[in-house]
């Protein structure tokens, strides 16, 4: 377990190093591949879902408070 953890840590650390050592091209590198493959839509779907869930939660809370307000006014 310990070995696995340290292995993952090293992996993550080297990965970030590789990202940091991007060479300076004439054209700034963008996530073109990701957009070409169309996989970015997966991320968009995930973010949109999370946001939708939070909003549903807020709306729910809003209506619960409205109900309480009505009860107390009676």
């Amino acid at each position: 377990m310990k070995h696995l953890l340290s292995f993952i840590t090293i992996l993550v650390l080297t990965a970030t190093n590789i990202f940091a050592q991007q060479t300076v091209n004439q054209e700034p590198t963008m996530a073109d591949k990701m957009y070409e493959d169309g996989r970015i839509y997966v991320v968009v779907a995930v973010v949109a879902t999370i946001f939708a869930v939070i909003i549903v939660y807020l709306i729910n809370m809003d209506s619960k408070i409205s109900k309480l307000e009505k009860q107390i006014k009676k």
Binding site: M30, I40, A48, I59, S63
Partner: protein
């Protein structure tokens, strides 16, 4: 839900949903160092817009309280400040993450960063101050005065000083518009709705907290 009364909540959701989708799919200009992280503009900067709006409204109610000491003005001042602090924390953390991958470090001695940190501490002190009074009237009055001083410090710390000195933030020593970077204006179409959307969402959250507080007050009176 009553649409006539709550249209702004729906507007906030629509705007932010558009930002969440178009923020990733929309085309952005190619820039060195920033690369795709430029999209953070749609998420990091609106946090500060929301924070400033919340603190602004909070100060407005503090002034109103000093003119006319109604406890509901104090409630509003404190709840708007609370939401503002949440958004300031979000802005600070997201900024730190962005800095790590573009400037190379989690924190730099950039004027805007330190200004934001000091500003946040000033507002933390506001919460501590509020908690240190037992008498409601006294708490309301003194924290209202403190709140006005707080925003009077926050504006130079975040808006004026960073423009006067060198900063890693865009527009140091000038106006932080993104005209030179985004000539086609593709980012503006997402950025402005994002700002408005987050301000409205922050208002909604505060609105919920205020309604809970009002209910608590009614309950206290009935006990």
């Amino acid at each position: 839900m009553n649409i006539k009364k709550n249209w702004w909540k729906a507007l906030s959701v629509l705007l932010l949903m558009y930002v969440m989708i178009w923020g990733f799919i929309g085309v952005i200009p190619r820039q060195p160092v920033l690369h795709e992280t430029a999209r953070n503009l749609y998420f990091h900067v609106p946090m500060w817009f929301a924070m400033f709006s919340m603190f602004g409204v909070s100060t407005w109610y503090s002034v109103k309280y000093l003119q006319n000491p109604l406890i509901e003005f104090d409630d509003k001042a404190s709840e708007y400040a609370n939401t503002g602090i949440i958004f300031a924390c979000a802005g600070l953390i997201t900024g730190s993450i962005w800095a790590r991958f573009t400037w190379g470090v989690w924190w730099t001695n950039d004027v805007k960063l330190n200004g934001a940190a000091i500003g946040l501490l000033i507002y933390f002190a506001y919460i501590v101050l509020r908690g240190s009074f037992k008498d409601e009237q006294q708490r309301a009055k003194i924290s209202a005065i403190y709140n006005i001083f707080a925003i009077a410090l926050l504006i130079p710390l975040l808006i004026i000083l960073p423009r006067l000195s060198d900063s890693l933030h865009p527009g140091a020593g000038g106006n932080p518009g993104f005209k030179p970077m985004d000539t086609a204006g593709t980012m503006r179409k997402v950025f402005y709705p994002a700002g408005l959307g987050w301000i409205l969402l922050a208002t909604w959250i505060t609105n919920l907290r205020l309604r809970i507080k009002a209910l608590e007050r009614i309950q206290e009176e009935n006990l």
